[in-house]
């Protein structure tokens, strides 16, 4: 063996080590395995009298409203300062940051803004402090929002904002055909049959059908609106019931008949909003944020739209619940301050500001009837109906796997690779192995 060749080989190997760096960096995050004692902290173990500076971690504060509110708190409570740690605006990254702290038992983030679908995972791993009802009152809160922050009948987070689906429609076109906003899928079809012939290039309905979290929301809505459920009351999967099949079949038929445009299979929230504004669809299922944009000065359909609760099979549909909650880290100090600050942030005046400045829907039910707010956000009564009727997504510890399994099944059915019954039978098997 000659020396130069060995040198060359060593260098080639060293080069590839560089390649591993990139891949190793993805996987080496939690080197230390948590000891077997985690997850045992209880509400009784928390010291709610300890006060001092705390850190609040949340995704990007695009409106600047949160910073203003925190500044106000800090001026009023100089000894219990809240520092805002702004995380990425990608939900995955926020979750990763929080999980890192949880696994290393770091209390760096005293309070975290927890997405409703992370509650189960965080709580089950013992990263979230259980919240005692004498310190945290959820009176007057939206029931669905409180439910989404509850795991095994214990409250692990305080809801901070809520979200529900709305059906946006072209009021101008419906009025011209003197049609009423639909309550059921059949009525929606009837309205489309009436309105669409006069409109070239317009389809009936659109939502979010790209393979991502939005598809899980749309799928769960179709199933729930047809009287089915992803998980039953006991938390067991029930996705192959006739009701669930009817729900998915409605989506699949929509694509087949052209009621839903073909390209909707690639739509996320923004794509569907743009299609709605480009008059490609008559009805749009989307979140409340669309109102201000589609009705804003830059929109082509400004002033021509209105909202209704989403339709269902035989009556009003069942929305998927979105939103965030304040969770307190099990490992954090100064939980007393955290408690005070959270309760301060949830005061009606702060919640109102949050809606007005950051368009994030409040969790206090009474605010949905506030005349001043309704004038500014005419969709509020509809949103209240939507959220009151809403169902949370499955509360699974392995939520990432559950949502991907749901997307696999729904996407295959929408693309016509599997018929709804087969897709849902497969999903049932998969979910049974994931949720024990």
């Amino acid at each position: 063996m000659t020396q130069p060749r060995t040198t060359r080989r060593v260098i080639a190997a060293a080069l590839t080590v560089g390649a591993l760096l990139a891949t190793a960096a993805c996987s080496a995050a939690p080197a230390a395995s948590p000891a077997a004692t985690g997850g045992t902290a209880t509400a009784a173990g928390a010291n709610w009298d300890e006060v001092g500076p705390i850190v609040y971690a949340q995704g990007k504060d695009t409106s600047g409203n949160l910073k203003a509110q925190i500044d106000q708190w800090n001026t009023e409570n100089p000894n219990e300062k809240v520092t805002f740690r702004e995380l990425s605006d990608s939900a995955d990254e926020q979750r990763a940051e929080m999980i890192k702290r949880g696994q290393s038992k770091s209390g760096e983030f005293t309070v975290m803004s927890v997405d409703v679908v992370w509650t189960a995972e965080f709580a089950a791993n013992g990263w979230l402090q259980e919240l005692p009802s004498d310190k945290f009152s959820t009176e007057g809160f939206l029931k669905a929002a409180v439910d989404s922050a509850t795991y095994f009948n214990k409250l692990y987070a305080m809801p901070s904002s809520s979200d529900g689906a709305l059906l946006y429609y072209r009021k101008d076109l419906l009025d011209k055909a003197s049609a009423q906003p639909p309550v059921t899928w059949d009525e929606m079809q009837a309205v489309c049959d009436k309105v669409l012939p006069g409109q070239s290039g317009m389809s009936c309905y659109g939502g979010q059908f790209q393979k991502y979290e939005g598809l899980t929301c749309n799928f769960a809505e179709a199933i729930n609106s047809a009287g089915g459920a992803v998980l039953n009351a006991e938390g067991k999967p029930t996705v192959n019931t006739p009701e669930a099949v009817a729900g998915l079949t409605w989506m699949v038929e929509g694509f087949k008949s052209g009621k839903i445009p073909k390209e909707a299979i690639t739509w996320k929230e923004e794509d569907s909003r743009q299609a709605f504004e480009a008059s490609k669809i008559l009805f749009l299922r989307n979140w409340p944020y669309v109102w201000n944009i589609s009705n804003g000065p830059k929109s082509k359909i400004s002033g021509k739209i209105a909202v209704a609760p989403i339709p269902g099979k035989t009556g009003p549909g069942v929305s998927t619940l979105g939103g965030h909650s304040y969770g307190i880290s099990t490992f954090a100090k100064n939980k007393g301050t955290a408690m005070k600050w959270i309760n301060w942030m949830l005061r009606p005046e702060n919640q109102k500001q949050q809606l007005q400045k950051a368009s994030s829907a409040p969790v206090l039910e009474s605010l949905y009837a506030d005349p001043e707010l309704i004038e500014q956000f005419p969709y509020l009564p509809m949103l209240l109906k939507s959220i009151q009727n809403a169902k949370p997504r499955p509360k699974a510890v392995a939520y990432g796997d559950v949502t991907l399994a749901i997307q696999d099944a729904a996407y295959a059915a929408l693309q016509g690779q599997k018929d709804p019954q087969t897709a849902l039978n497969d999903l049932q098997t998969k979910l049974e192995s994931l949720i024990k």
Binding site: T2, Q3, P4, R5, T7, R8, R9, I11, A12, A13, L15, T16, V17, G18, A19, L20, L21, A22, T23, A24, A25, C26, S27, A28, A29, P30, A31, S33, P34, A36, T37, G38, G39, D92, I99, A120, A123, A124, G126, F152, Q210, K211, Y212, K262, E263, I265, T266, W267, D271, V397, A398, G400, D401, L404, Q407, D408, A412, Q415, Q417, K436
Partner: protein, 354 residues
């Protein structure tokens, strides 16, 4: 040179000029840093890959059992023993296998197209013509754009009502999970990295003396003959290195599938994105195992390149000269039937014994 050999220690490194100790001292800080940021994570990944996070949930409290348990090679063998089937371009197969084939397919398709285009670009850039600077700059722009930015950009181009569909006048849903999304990835990757091959090839082209072509012309060689007989062989060392870099880089492709198409899309899932997804679902054991599989695969391909194509990643004339000299000496020794006296000194620095 060879006759100045005094009988010394038998096993002395023939490449050493006696400054090994100093050299080791000088590079030791760098080596320490590399050990810390490369060696340690690799060892930790290997350790992680034989463990698995406990997943059971207590049915009464809902708490998950904490910690990890040792599972041996299960994270690696699950591909056979406990496959999780997904349906991508290659039928219903295990998810890891699917991403492995995707990775291989992307590497072959992308690198082939990039090499062809890159060489063409280099030939154009090497020509002297008006506006050459502008053409060179234009060709290099894609390479200067960060991959994640070009992923988002091509995402807009490939959208249902995007530019691509308008140009080709057809409604192809590039971003849906299907065979077409693979082509979206390949097109975007070729667009971005063909200039890289072009750039390295251009550097190789400029070392070819003009006299060679003049001589060929005088001999009546056609343009094609000049290309295959002169340009290609003479540019080969540079080209092979460029192709090697691109191959290793494409094998760990992450940004394009992740940024443009998204996670959990089996038609475009590569081993890198799968490892990320596993990591995201808190299964660090399998994430580490998949990374190691990718690592071994990359090392294997790099080895093949060096072995079969003789990729000379160092480009050190001295090392090459010594190798040639030793080869000649060996051949001569074989011919004369005596034991070979191998060259034991650096070529360019003169005699080491002085």
């Amino acid at each position: 040179m060879a006759d100045s050999q005094a009988p010394r220690k038998a096993k002395k490194n023939p490449l050493s000029d006696g400054q090994g100790g100093l050299a080791a001292l000088l590079i030791s800080p760098t080596m320490a840093v590399i050990l810390f940021v490369v060696g340690l994570p690799i060892l930790m990944s290997i350790r992680e890959s034989v463990f698995r996070t406990n997943e059971g949930v207590d049915p009464n409290t809902g708490m998950v059992s904490q910690g990890e348990s040792f599972v041996g090679l299960q994270n690696f063998t699950d591909i056979f023993a406990n496959p999780s089937l997904v349906t991508g371009n290659w039928g219903s197969i295990d998810r890891l296998l699917n991403s492995f084939i995707n990775t291989t397919w992307f590497t072959i398709a992308c690198v082939t197209l990039e090499t062809i285009l890159g060489v063409a670009m280099a030939l154009i850039m090497a020509k002297a013509f008006k506006g050459r600077g502008l053409v060179r700059a234009a060709i290099l722009v894609p390479w200067a754009i960060p991959t994640i930015v070009s992923a988002k950009m091509w995402g807009l181009i490939f959208a249902a009502d995007g530019v691509m569909n308008k140009v080709i006048g057809q409604q192809i849903l590039w971003l849906a999970d299907g065979p077409q999304s693979q082509w979206a990835i390949i097109i975007a990757d070729v667009w971005k990295t063909a200039p890289f091959i072009g750039l390295l090839t251009l550097a190789g082209l400029q070392t070819i003396p003009a006299e060679v072509y003049e001589a060929a012309k005088v001999d009546g060689a056609s343009a094609w003959q000049q290309f295959t007989r002169i340009t290609l062989p003479m540019v080969k060392p540079a080209l092979v290195v460029a192709v090697l870099f691109r191959t290793l880089d494409t094998m760990r492709m992450f940004d394009l599938p992740a940024g443009m198409i998204g996670f959990g899309k089996y038609f475009v899932e590569t081993v890198s994105t799968l490892a990320y997804v596993e990591n995201n679902n808190l299964r660090y054991g399998s994430a580490a195992a998949y990374s190691i599989i990718l690592f071994v695969y990359i090392v294997f391909v790099a080895f093949l390149f060096v072995r079969l194509l003789g990729a000379d990643v160092v480009g050190d004339d001295e090392v090459r000269a010594i190798a040639d000299q030793r080869k000649r000496q060996k051949a001569a020794a074989k011919a004369s039937g005596t034991k070979a006296k191998l060259a034991k000194t650096t070529v360019t620095s003169g005699s080491a014994s002085s």
